[in-house]
Symmetry: C3
Subunit: 158 residues, 3 copies
Protein backbone atom coordinates (compact mmCIF):
# COMPACT_ATOMS: atom_id res chain seq x y z
CA UNK A 1 0.00 0.00 0.00
CA UNK A 2 1.08 3.52 -0.68
CA UNK A 3 0.72 4.44 2.99
CA UNK A 4 4.01 2.74 3.68
CA UNK A 5 6.42 5.10 1.97
CA UNK A 6 7.67 8.63 2.54
CA UNK A 7 9.96 10.74 0.34
CA UNK A 8 11.64 14.02 1.20
CA UNK A 9 13.44 16.34 -1.19
CA UNK A 10 16.04 18.17 0.89
CA UNK A 11 16.72 21.23 -1.28
CA UNK A 12 17.86 23.59 1.47
CA UNK A 13 21.07 23.74 3.48
CA UNK A 14 19.47 25.60 6.36
CA UNK A 15 20.12 23.90 9.69
CA UNK A 16 16.49 24.31 10.73
CA UNK A 17 15.15 22.72 7.55
CA UNK A 18 17.72 19.90 7.75
CA UNK A 19 16.55 19.21 11.31
CA UNK A 20 12.91 19.17 10.21
CA UNK A 21 13.81 16.75 7.39
CA UNK A 22 15.48 14.27 9.72
CA UNK A 23 12.84 14.52 12.43
CA UNK A 24 10.25 13.54 9.81
CA UNK A 25 12.46 10.88 8.20
CA UNK A 26 13.34 9.24 11.50
CA UNK A 27 9.77 9.50 12.76
CA UNK A 28 8.51 7.73 9.66
CA UNK A 29 11.27 5.09 9.77
CA UNK A 30 10.49 4.42 13.45
CA UNK A 31 6.98 3.36 12.52
CA UNK A 32 8.27 0.97 9.88
CA UNK A 33 7.82 3.15 6.83
CA UNK A 34 10.22 3.05 3.90
CA UNK A 35 11.84 6.50 3.62
CA UNK A 36 13.77 8.02 0.72
CA UNK A 37 15.59 11.34 1.11
CA UNK A 38 16.69 13.07 -2.06
CA UNK A 39 19.39 15.69 -1.48
CA UNK A 40 19.56 18.30 -4.21
CA UNK A 41 21.11 21.74 -4.79
CA UNK A 42 22.12 23.34 -1.47
CA UNK A 43 20.85 20.25 0.34
CA UNK A 44 23.98 18.37 -0.75
CA UNK A 45 25.92 20.17 1.98
CA UNK A 46 23.87 18.39 4.63
CA UNK A 47 25.41 15.04 3.68
CA UNK A 48 29.00 16.08 3.10
CA UNK A 49 31.45 14.15 5.26
CA UNK A 50 33.25 15.95 8.04
CA UNK A 51 36.80 14.94 7.11
CA UNK A 52 38.49 16.94 4.39
CA UNK A 53 38.70 14.92 1.16
CA UNK A 54 41.40 15.45 -1.43
CA UNK A 55 39.70 16.05 -4.77
CA UNK A 56 40.72 17.49 -8.11
CA UNK A 57 38.15 20.06 -9.05
CA UNK A 58 38.00 22.59 -11.84
CA UNK A 59 37.94 26.30 -11.02
CA UNK A 60 34.17 26.60 -10.62
CA UNK A 61 34.03 23.43 -8.56
CA UNK A 62 36.62 24.94 -6.19
CA UNK A 63 34.62 28.17 -6.04
CA UNK A 64 31.46 26.31 -5.01
CA UNK A 65 33.42 24.22 -2.48
CA UNK A 66 34.82 27.34 -0.94
CA UNK A 67 31.49 29.14 -0.71
CA UNK A 68 29.18 26.37 0.42
CA UNK A 69 29.02 24.94 3.97
CA UNK A 70 31.75 22.31 4.28
CA UNK A 71 29.46 19.84 6.10
CA UNK A 72 26.43 19.59 8.38
CA UNK A 73 28.35 21.25 11.24
CA UNK A 74 28.59 24.45 9.23
CA UNK A 75 24.95 24.98 8.28
CA UNK A 76 23.23 28.30 8.94
CA UNK A 77 19.71 29.05 10.13
CA UNK A 78 17.13 30.37 7.65
CA UNK A 79 16.20 33.02 10.25
CA UNK A 80 18.01 34.55 13.21
CA UNK A 81 21.37 33.36 11.94
CA UNK A 82 23.06 36.38 13.56
CA UNK A 83 26.24 36.11 11.51
CA UNK A 84 26.76 32.56 12.67
CA UNK A 85 25.72 32.83 16.32
CA UNK A 86 22.22 31.46 15.70
CA UNK A 87 23.12 27.86 14.84
CA UNK A 88 25.20 27.47 18.02
CA UNK A 89 22.32 28.89 20.04
CA UNK A 90 19.90 26.45 18.40
CA UNK A 91 22.28 23.54 18.94
CA UNK A 92 22.83 24.53 22.58
CA UNK A 93 19.12 24.80 23.13
CA UNK A 94 18.51 21.37 21.57
CA UNK A 95 21.20 19.87 23.79
CA UNK A 96 19.59 21.42 26.87
CA UNK A 97 16.27 19.89 25.83
CA UNK A 98 17.99 16.53 25.24
CA UNK A 99 17.19 16.48 21.52
CA UNK A 100 19.71 14.68 19.32
CA UNK A 101 22.03 16.94 17.30
CA UNK A 102 21.66 16.84 13.51
CA UNK A 103 24.72 14.60 13.09
CA UNK A 104 23.23 11.96 15.40
CA UNK A 105 19.91 12.18 13.56
CA UNK A 106 21.72 11.51 10.26
CA UNK A 107 23.42 8.43 11.72
CA UNK A 108 20.12 7.24 13.19
CA UNK A 109 18.50 7.58 9.77
CA UNK A 110 21.23 5.56 8.06
CA UNK A 111 21.01 2.85 10.72
CA UNK A 112 17.22 2.75 10.35
CA UNK A 113 17.61 2.05 6.65
CA UNK A 114 16.54 5.47 5.38
CA UNK A 115 17.62 5.61 1.75
CA UNK A 116 19.70 8.70 0.99
CA UNK A 117 20.13 9.72 -2.61
CA UNK A 118 22.27 12.61 -3.83
CA UNK A 119 21.13 14.38 -6.99
CA UNK A 120 23.71 13.72 -9.69
CA UNK A 121 22.81 16.81 -11.71
CA UNK A 122 23.29 19.09 -8.70
CA UNK A 123 26.62 17.41 -7.96
CA UNK A 124 27.73 18.13 -11.55
CA UNK A 125 26.68 21.77 -11.33
CA UNK A 126 28.30 22.38 -7.96
CA UNK A 127 31.30 20.16 -8.63
CA UNK A 128 30.58 17.88 -5.67
CA UNK A 129 32.12 14.40 -5.98
CA UNK A 130 30.92 11.18 -4.34
CA UNK A 131 34.01 10.97 -2.12
CA UNK A 132 32.90 14.13 -0.32
CA UNK A 133 29.60 12.60 0.75
CA UNK A 134 29.08 10.48 3.85
CA UNK A 135 29.05 6.70 3.51
CA UNK A 136 25.77 5.10 2.62
CA UNK A 137 24.61 7.75 0.15
CA UNK A 138 23.77 6.65 -3.37
CA UNK A 139 23.61 8.80 -6.50
CA UNK A 140 20.49 9.28 -8.59
CA UNK A 141 18.47 11.58 -10.77
CA UNK A 142 14.97 12.94 -11.00
CA UNK A 143 13.78 9.55 -12.32
CA UNK A 144 15.01 7.87 -9.13
CA UNK A 145 13.08 10.39 -7.10
CA UNK A 146 9.88 10.21 -9.14
CA UNK A 147 9.80 6.43 -8.99
CA UNK A 148 9.98 6.48 -5.20
CA UNK A 149 7.53 9.38 -4.89
CA UNK A 150 4.89 7.87 -7.18
CA UNK A 151 4.32 4.99 -4.80
CA UNK A 152 4.67 7.00 -1.58
CA UNK A 153 1.88 8.44 0.56
CA UNK A 154 3.84 11.41 1.88
CA UNK A 155 6.07 13.49 -0.41
CA UNK A 156 7.56 16.75 0.82
CA UNK A 157 9.85 19.39 -0.68
CA UNK A 158 11.84 20.99 2.12
CA UNK B 1 -10.78 7.53 0.81
CA UNK B 2 -7.43 9.28 0.89
CA UNK B 3 -8.78 12.02 -1.40
CA UNK B 4 -10.58 13.49 1.58
CA UNK B 5 -7.69 14.73 3.66
CA UNK B 6 -5.10 17.47 3.42
CA UNK B 7 -2.15 18.22 5.71
CA UNK B 8 0.08 21.28 5.75
CA UNK B 9 3.31 21.71 7.67
CA UNK B 10 3.65 25.43 8.36
CA UNK B 11 7.38 25.75 9.02
CA UNK B 12 7.79 29.38 8.01
CA UNK B 13 6.75 32.60 9.73
CA UNK B 14 6.72 34.59 6.50
CA UNK B 15 3.44 36.44 6.03
CA UNK B 16 3.24 35.37 2.39
CA UNK B 17 3.71 31.69 3.21
CA UNK B 18 1.23 31.90 6.09
CA UNK B 19 -1.31 33.39 3.68
CA UNK B 20 -0.69 30.62 1.14
CA UNK B 21 -1.14 28.02 3.91
CA UNK B 22 -4.51 29.38 4.98
CA UNK B 23 -5.79 29.92 1.44
CA UNK B 24 -5.10 26.23 0.77
CA UNK B 25 -6.44 25.07 4.15
CA UNK B 26 -9.66 27.07 3.85
CA UNK B 27 -10.09 26.11 0.21
CA UNK B 28 -9.82 22.44 1.10
CA UNK B 29 -12.11 22.78 4.13
CA UNK B 30 -14.70 24.57 1.99
CA UNK B 31 -15.01 21.49 -0.21
CA UNK B 32 -15.56 19.27 2.80
CA UNK B 33 -12.04 17.93 3.19
CA UNK B 34 -10.52 17.20 6.57
CA UNK B 35 -7.53 19.51 7.04
CA UNK B 36 -4.66 19.27 9.53
CA UNK B 37 -2.16 22.11 9.89
CA UNK B 38 1.03 21.34 11.75
CA UNK B 39 2.86 24.45 13.00
CA UNK B 40 6.54 23.89 13.60
CA UNK B 41 9.71 25.95 14.15
CA UNK B 42 9.17 29.57 13.01
CA UNK B 43 5.62 28.66 12.02
CA UNK B 44 4.62 28.73 15.69
CA UNK B 45 4.57 32.53 15.54
CA UNK B 46 1.63 32.39 13.12
CA UNK B 47 -0.64 31.01 15.84
CA UNK B 48 0.52 33.06 18.80
CA UNK B 49 -2.32 34.98 20.43
CA UNK B 50 -2.42 38.73 20.13
CA UNK B 51 -2.79 39.56 23.81
CA UNK B 52 0.36 39.56 25.89
CA UNK B 53 0.47 36.48 28.14
CA UNK B 54 2.32 36.41 31.45
CA UNK B 55 4.71 33.45 31.37
CA UNK B 56 7.74 32.41 33.35
CA UNK B 57 10.45 31.55 30.87
CA UNK B 58 14.11 30.72 31.27
CA UNK B 59 16.72 33.02 29.76
CA UNK B 60 16.82 31.39 26.33
CA UNK B 61 13.03 31.24 26.19
CA UNK B 62 12.92 34.99 26.84
CA UNK B 63 15.55 35.53 24.13
CA UNK B 64 13.47 33.64 21.57
CA UNK B 65 10.30 35.46 22.67
CA UNK B 66 12.02 38.76 22.21
CA UNK B 67 13.44 37.97 18.78
CA UNK B 68 10.53 36.16 17.15
CA UNK B 69 7.37 37.86 15.79
CA UNK B 70 4.99 38.34 18.71
CA UNK B 71 1.95 37.17 16.71
CA UNK B 72 0.52 36.95 13.18
CA UNK B 73 0.26 40.76 12.98
CA UNK B 74 4.04 41.02 13.17
CA UNK B 75 5.05 38.61 10.41
CA UNK B 76 7.47 39.70 7.68
CA UNK B 77 7.48 38.93 3.97
CA UNK B 78 9.99 36.45 2.54
CA UNK B 79 10.74 39.00 -0.20
CA UNK B 80 10.34 42.76 -0.47
CA UNK B 81 10.01 43.16 3.27
CA UNK B 82 11.58 46.63 3.06
CA UNK B 83 12.46 46.83 6.73
CA UNK B 84 8.87 46.21 7.68
CA UNK B 85 7.06 48.30 5.05
CA UNK B 86 6.32 45.33 2.78
CA UNK B 87 3.81 43.52 5.01
CA UNK B 88 1.69 46.65 5.41
CA UNK B 89 1.77 47.14 1.65
CA UNK B 90 0.70 43.54 1.10
CA UNK B 91 -2.06 43.84 3.69
CA UNK B 92 -3.28 47.13 2.20
CA UNK B 93 -3.32 45.60 -1.24
CA UNK B 94 -5.28 42.58 -0.03
CA UNK B 95 -7.81 44.85 1.65
CA UNK B 96 -8.22 46.85 -1.58
CA UNK B 97 -8.86 43.58 -3.43
CA UNK B 98 -11.34 42.53 -0.71
CA UNK B 99 -9.29 39.51 0.33
CA UNK B 100 -9.59 38.52 3.98
CA UNK B 101 -6.62 39.45 6.18
CA UNK B 102 -4.58 36.58 7.65
CA UNK B 103 -6.25 36.91 11.07
CA UNK B 104 -9.71 36.45 9.54
CA UNK B 105 -8.45 33.46 7.54
CA UNK B 106 -7.18 31.87 10.77
CA UNK B 107 -10.58 32.33 12.44
CA UNK B 108 -12.35 30.99 9.35
CA UNK B 109 -10.14 27.91 9.46
CA UNK B 110 -10.89 27.27 13.12
CA UNK B 111 -14.62 27.69 12.53
CA UNK B 112 -14.46 25.33 9.54
CA UNK B 113 -12.99 22.66 11.77
CA UNK B 114 -9.41 22.80 10.46
CA UNK B 115 -7.30 20.96 13.00
CA UNK B 116 -4.34 23.03 14.17
CA UNK B 117 -1.48 21.26 15.87
CA UNK B 118 1.58 22.95 17.37
CA UNK B 119 4.82 20.98 17.35
CA UNK B 120 5.74 20.21 20.96
CA UNK B 121 9.45 19.79 20.20
CA UNK B 122 9.67 23.21 18.55
CA UNK B 123 7.81 24.74 21.50
CA UNK B 124 10.38 23.22 23.85
CA UNK B 125 13.30 24.51 21.80
CA UNK B 126 11.90 28.01 21.45
CA UNK B 127 10.41 28.16 24.90
CA UNK B 128 6.87 28.73 23.63
CA UNK B 129 4.13 27.70 26.08
CA UNK B 130 0.57 26.65 25.28
CA UNK B 131 -0.89 29.78 26.91
CA UNK B 132 0.75 31.91 24.22
CA UNK B 133 -1.09 30.11 21.42
CA UNK B 134 -4.56 30.98 20.19
CA UNK B 135 -7.50 28.94 21.44
CA UNK B 136 -8.31 25.78 19.55
CA UNK B 137 -4.71 24.70 18.95
CA UNK B 138 -3.67 21.27 20.19
CA UNK B 139 -0.12 20.05 20.85
CA UNK B 140 1.47 17.12 19.06
CA UNK B 141 4.63 15.60 17.69
CA UNK B 142 5.93 14.17 14.47
CA UNK B 143 3.87 11.00 15.08
CA UNK B 144 0.68 13.08 15.14
CA UNK B 145 1.67 14.62 11.84
CA UNK B 146 2.69 11.38 10.17
CA UNK B 147 -0.52 9.65 11.15
CA UNK B 148 -2.60 12.40 9.52
CA UNK B 149 -0.33 12.63 6.48
CA UNK B 150 -0.27 8.90 5.77
CA UNK B 151 -3.97 8.87 5.04
CA UNK B 152 -4.11 12.25 3.25
CA UNK B 153 -4.07 12.87 -0.48
CA UNK B 154 -2.37 16.26 -0.33
CA UNK B 155 0.61 16.88 1.99
CA UNK B 156 2.60 20.07 1.70
CA UNK B 157 5.61 21.54 3.53
CA UNK B 158 5.35 25.31 3.45
CA UNK C 1 -4.79 5.63 -10.93
CA UNK C 2 -3.47 8.38 -8.71
CA UNK C 3 0.11 7.39 -9.55
CA UNK C 4 -0.29 9.13 -12.87
CA UNK C 5 -0.46 12.74 -11.77
CA UNK C 6 1.92 15.29 -10.30
CA UNK C 7 1.23 18.84 -9.12
CA UNK C 8 3.71 21.53 -8.18
CA UNK C 9 2.96 24.82 -6.48
CA UNK C 10 5.67 27.24 -7.60
CA UNK C 11 5.52 29.89 -4.88
CA UNK C 12 9.09 31.13 -5.15
CA UNK C 13 10.81 33.26 -7.75
CA UNK C 14 14.27 31.97 -6.89
CA UNK C 15 16.12 30.72 -9.96
CA UNK C 16 17.26 27.59 -8.14
CA UNK C 17 13.75 26.66 -7.04
CA UNK C 18 12.34 27.41 -10.50
CA UNK C 19 14.95 25.06 -11.96
CA UNK C 20 14.05 22.33 -9.46
CA UNK C 21 10.36 22.77 -10.34
CA UNK C 22 10.93 22.32 -14.05
CA UNK C 23 13.36 19.43 -13.67
CA UNK C 24 10.67 17.60 -11.69
CA UNK C 25 7.84 18.65 -14.02
CA UNK C 26 9.69 17.63 -17.17
CA UNK C 27 10.94 14.41 -15.58
CA UNK C 28 7.39 13.44 -14.68
CA UNK C 29 6.02 14.46 -18.08
CA UNK C 30 8.73 12.40 -19.81
CA UNK C 31 7.41 9.27 -18.14
CA UNK C 32 3.88 9.99 -19.31
CA UNK C 33 2.53 11.56 -16.16
CA UNK C 34 0.00 14.37 -16.21
CA UNK C 35 1.62 17.42 -14.61
CA UNK C 36 -0.01 20.60 -13.29
CA UNK C 37 2.12 23.56 -12.20
CA UNK C 38 0.40 26.23 -10.15
CA UNK C 39 2.27 29.55 -10.10
CA UNK C 40 1.42 31.73 -7.14
CA UNK C 41 2.79 34.80 -5.35
CA UNK C 42 6.42 35.43 -6.33
CA UNK C 43 6.29 32.38 -8.60
CA UNK C 44 4.29 34.41 -11.14
CA UNK C 45 7.55 36.07 -12.22
CA UNK C 46 8.81 32.73 -13.55
CA UNK C 47 6.18 32.70 -16.29
CA UNK C 48 6.21 36.36 -17.29
CA UNK C 49 6.93 36.83 -20.98
CA UNK C 50 10.21 38.34 -22.02
CA UNK C 51 8.84 41.09 -24.26
CA UNK C 52 7.64 44.25 -22.57
CA UNK C 53 3.83 44.41 -22.59
CA UNK C 54 1.90 47.67 -22.54
CA UNK C 55 -0.53 47.52 -19.61
CA UNK C 56 -2.54 50.05 -17.68
CA UNK C 57 -1.90 49.42 -14.01
CA UNK C 58 -2.85 51.31 -10.90
CA UNK C 59 -0.14 52.79 -8.69
CA UNK C 60 0.42 49.67 -6.57
CA UNK C 61 0.41 47.45 -9.63
CA UNK C 62 3.17 49.61 -11.13
CA UNK C 63 5.11 49.43 -7.85
CA UNK C 64 4.99 45.63 -7.86
CA UNK C 65 5.94 45.52 -11.54
CA UNK C 66 8.91 47.71 -10.88
CA UNK C 67 10.14 45.73 -7.89
CA UNK C 68 9.61 42.16 -9.04
CA UNK C 69 11.79 40.29 -11.57
CA UNK C 70 10.58 41.22 -15.04
CA UNK C 71 10.78 37.63 -16.32
CA UNK C 72 12.59 34.31 -15.86
CA UNK C 73 15.86 35.83 -17.10
CA UNK C 74 15.94 38.14 -14.09
CA UNK C 75 15.46 35.65 -11.27
CA UNK C 76 17.85 35.60 -8.31
CA UNK C 77 19.28 32.68 -6.38
CA UNK C 78 17.99 31.89 -2.89
CA UNK C 79 21.62 31.62 -1.73
CA UNK C 80 24.90 32.94 -3.06
CA UNK C 81 23.15 35.55 -5.16
CA UNK C 82 26.13 37.91 -4.76
CA UNK C 83 24.22 41.04 -5.76
CA UNK C 84 23.24 39.44 -9.04
CA UNK C 85 26.47 37.63 -9.97
CA UNK C 86 25.28 34.24 -8.68
CA UNK C 87 22.56 33.56 -11.27
CA UNK C 88 24.98 34.15 -14.15
CA UNK C 89 27.48 31.82 -12.51
CA UNK C 90 24.81 29.16 -12.09
CA UNK C 91 23.64 29.59 -15.67
CA UNK C 92 27.23 29.44 -17.00
CA UNK C 93 27.87 26.31 -15.00
CA UNK C 94 24.70 24.67 -16.29
CA UNK C 95 25.70 25.52 -19.86
CA UNK C 96 29.14 24.00 -19.33
CA UNK C 97 27.49 20.83 -18.04
CA UNK C 98 25.11 20.85 -21.06
CA UNK C 99 22.01 21.27 -18.92
CA UNK C 100 19.13 23.16 -20.55
CA UNK C 101 18.65 26.75 -19.36
CA UNK C 102 15.43 27.52 -17.48
CA UNK C 103 13.81 29.13 -20.53
CA UNK C 104 14.31 25.95 -22.60
CA UNK C 105 12.94 23.86 -19.74
CA UNK C 106 9.80 26.02 -19.69
CA UNK C 107 9.29 25.55 -23.44
CA UNK C 108 9.91 21.81 -23.10
CA UNK C 109 7.27 21.64 -20.39
CA UNK C 110 4.70 23.46 -22.52
CA UNK C 111 5.43 21.20 -25.49
CA UNK C 112 5.13 18.11 -23.29
CA UNK C 113 1.66 19.21 -22.28
CA UNK C 114 2.48 20.31 -18.74
CA UNK C 115 -0.51 22.36 -17.58
CA UNK C 116 0.52 25.76 -16.25
CA UNK C 117 -1.94 27.67 -14.12
CA UNK C 118 -1.41 31.18 -12.75
CA UNK C 119 -3.07 32.01 -9.44
CA UNK C 120 -5.73 34.63 -10.10
CA UNK C 121 -5.71 35.94 -6.52
CA UNK C 122 -1.94 36.53 -6.60
CA UNK C 123 -2.28 38.28 -9.95
CA UNK C 124 -4.90 40.59 -8.42
CA UNK C 125 -2.70 41.36 -5.42
CA UNK C 126 0.42 42.01 -7.45
CA UNK C 127 -1.38 43.65 -10.34
CA UNK C 128 -0.15 41.11 -12.89
CA UNK C 129 -2.35 40.82 -16.01
CA UNK C 130 -2.72 37.83 -18.31
CA UNK C 131 -1.01 39.63 -21.22
CA UNK C 132 2.22 39.68 -19.23
CA UNK C 133 2.32 35.90 -18.95
CA UNK C 134 3.77 33.54 -21.56
CA UNK C 135 1.41 31.84 -23.99
CA UNK C 136 -0.16 28.60 -22.86
CA UNK C 137 -0.75 29.64 -19.26
CA UNK C 138 -4.32 29.46 -17.93
CA UNK C 139 -5.73 31.28 -14.90
CA UNK C 140 -7.19 29.53 -11.88
CA UNK C 141 -7.72 29.59 -8.15
CA UNK C 142 -7.14 27.39 -5.18
CA UNK C 143 -10.08 25.20 -6.24
CA UNK C 144 -8.35 24.48 -9.56
CA UNK C 145 -5.25 23.47 -7.66
CA UNK C 146 -7.00 21.33 -5.07
CA UNK C 147 -8.96 19.45 -7.71
CA UNK C 148 -5.74 18.49 -9.52
CA UNK C 149 -3.88 17.73 -6.29
CA UNK C 150 -6.57 15.50 -4.81
CA UNK C 151 -6.15 12.97 -7.56
CA UNK C 152 -2.35 13.24 -7.86
CA UNK C 153 0.25 10.98 -6.30
CA UNK C 154 2.96 13.62 -5.94
CA UNK C 155 2.15 17.13 -4.69
CA UNK C 156 4.94 19.55 -3.83
CA UNK C 157 5.10 23.14 -2.58
CA UNK C 158 8.29 24.72 -3.89
Amino acid sequence: MSGNETTLIVFSDDLDKALASFVIANGAAATGKKVTMFFTFWGLSVIKRREKVRTSKDFMGRMFSWMLPRNSQKLSLSKMNFAGLGPGMMRGRMKAKRIDPLETMIQTALQAGVRMTACQMSMDIMGVVKEELIDGVELGGVATYLEAASSAAVNLFI
